[in-house]
């Protein structure tokens, strides 16, 4: 327990669904490091590259023809807001990875605008990650990462790269944008892995 702040009572919540240090919001804050890229679906491509250099690419029509899921998840931002029971539609990474011949351990996702984030490959398999294109029944807006963003709800939300353009499968881990700037390499909200050394 930390040092007591005299006169602080706070708002107790019986809610067990919030990870440590998080508070609940009902709006949907936006956090981005730069201006919002505008990507139209006519020129959009998603590119999967394996560690041996094999490339598979989908345009928007091909991507949207893939089987998709309705997803209901809680999301947790490292800046401490959490949002419960959010609804998305997206294509599971399992679908995109199905034909990839790989023994890689890591993923580096990259985005239109230059953003990157890294994850263990195991964390985007088995129904844990999607390329999401709808939020609450509407096409995903640009400020929230549209036309499509990565959705990896069991990690802090900076891992759910907006404006995702592709993922590279890698033998070696490579820290992404925030991971190089002091933020935790893995980012498990339930272990409060916000920063380096957490």
């Amino acid at each position: 327990m930390g040092i007591v702040s005299p006169g602080f009572h706070g708002r107790r919540r019986g809610d067990q669904k919030l990870p440590p240090g998080q508070y609940l919001v009902t709006d949907f804050p936006v956090l981005s490091a730069g201006p919002t890229p505008r990507v139209d679906t006519g020129s959009w491509r998603f590119r999967l590259k394996t560690e041996t250099g094999q490339v598979r690419e989908w345009n928007w029509a091909e991507f949207r023809a893939l089987p998709d899921d309705d997803i209901t998840v809680d999301i947790h931002c490292v800046t401490k807001w959490s949002k419960l029971t959010t609804h998305w539609r997206g294509v599971s990474l399992d679908v995109l990875l199905a034909e990839a011949d790989t023994s890689a351990q890591f993923v580096l996702a990259h985005s239109y605008g230059g953003y990157t984030t890294n994850l263990p490959l195991a964390d985007v398999r088995d129904g844990q990650a999607w390329i999401a294109f709808e939020y609450e029944g509407q096409p995903l807006t640009a400020e929230h990462g549209g036309p499509a963003r990565l959705l990896v709800p069991h990690l802090y939300f900076w891992k759910s790269a907006k404006w995702v353009q592709g993922i590279d499968l890698r033998d070696k881990d490579q820290p992404g944008f925030w991971e190089s700037l002091g933020y935790n390499n893995y980012g498990d909200p339930w272990r409060e892995q916000r920063y380096w050394g957490d």
Binding site: I3, G10, Y23, P29, V30, P35, G182, G197
Partner: protein, 249 residues
């Protein structure tokens, strides 16, 4: 890149409130003594933790307002009426109280003090706070980098640091400050109240465009300002943004 500013584990530090200064009706600056604080980079923030006597705790992030200084840090906090943490910080907290925080955090939204290039700062409301750290650091570091601050605020009474900014501008050492009032302008102000528009923003393709642009404020403000800056010819890669949700607590 300033990533090296965050090394190893960011431990919680026990500080003491040295001083609380009223900035506006709804905002205070809190100076905290922190014996183990090594300083920060202008633009960085801290996490603070409040703990009730039964162990319940709440964490929030706040931008640092002061110039880097070992052993001391100053935050400015705007009260949100329905917030959990800001009413305590702006109303209950007193000098001498313990204050727990960790940081500094964030290696992206920082001004490199060694950089001589022109800087454009665009603030919406309390988004001025990390930009004020940059302005204060500029003078503390003896920098002559040209700085322009565009400060969008509801009314003169809502403007943070107004007297200090006016004093800094009077020194005429390369800091230019322009206000945009969105609801109420001072008597005789040439521009009617309204949102920041293209007319207020310097062109990005001018002869000496800003080499760095920092935009901070509520989400809607930052989205609009960043889009206007790109339309005005600024390179997207030169624009760094920091956004406050309306629910900062």
């Amino acid at each position: 890149m300033a990533g090296a500013a965050v090394l190893g584990r960011l431990s919680w530090q026990d500080g003491t409130v040295r001083d609380i200064r009223k900035e506006t009706e709804a905002a205070v600056s809190i100076a905290i003594d922190l014996p183990n604080w090594a300083g920060h980079l202008p633009g960085q923030h801290v996490d603070i933790r409040l703990t009730a006597d039964d162990g319940y705790s709440a964490e929030r992030s706040y931008s640092i307002a002061s110039a880097p200084e070992p052993g001391r840090v100053e935050l400015t906090v705007q009260r949100l009426e329905d917030g959990e943490v800001s009413p305590y910080l702006t109303g209950t907290l007193r000098p001498g109280y313990p204050f727990e925080l960790r940081g500094p955090i964030g290696g992206w939204f920082v001004w490199e003090q060694a950089s001589p290039g022109p800087v454009l700062l665009v603030a919406g409301g309390s988004g001025i706070v990390p930009l004020m750290s940059m302005i204060r650091s500029r003078e503390a570091a003896g920098s002559h980098a040209p700085f322009q601050l565009l400060y969008s605020v509801r009314s003169p009474a809502d403007a943070l640091y107004a007297a200090e900014l006016a004093e800094r501008q009077r020194r005429a050492d390369g800091l230019r400050i322009d206000y945009v009032y969105t609801r109420t302008a001072p008597a005789g102000w040439p521009r009617p109240p309204g949102r920041l528009g293209a007319a207020e923003l310097p062109r990005g393709d001018a002869t000496s465009p800003p080499s760095a642009v920092f935009v901070c404020g509520p989400t809607g403000f930052v989205e609009a300002a960043a889009n206007l800056l790109i339309q005005a010819g600024h390179r997207p890669a030169a624009i760094k943004t920091e956004r406050f949700g309306p629910s900062g607590g």
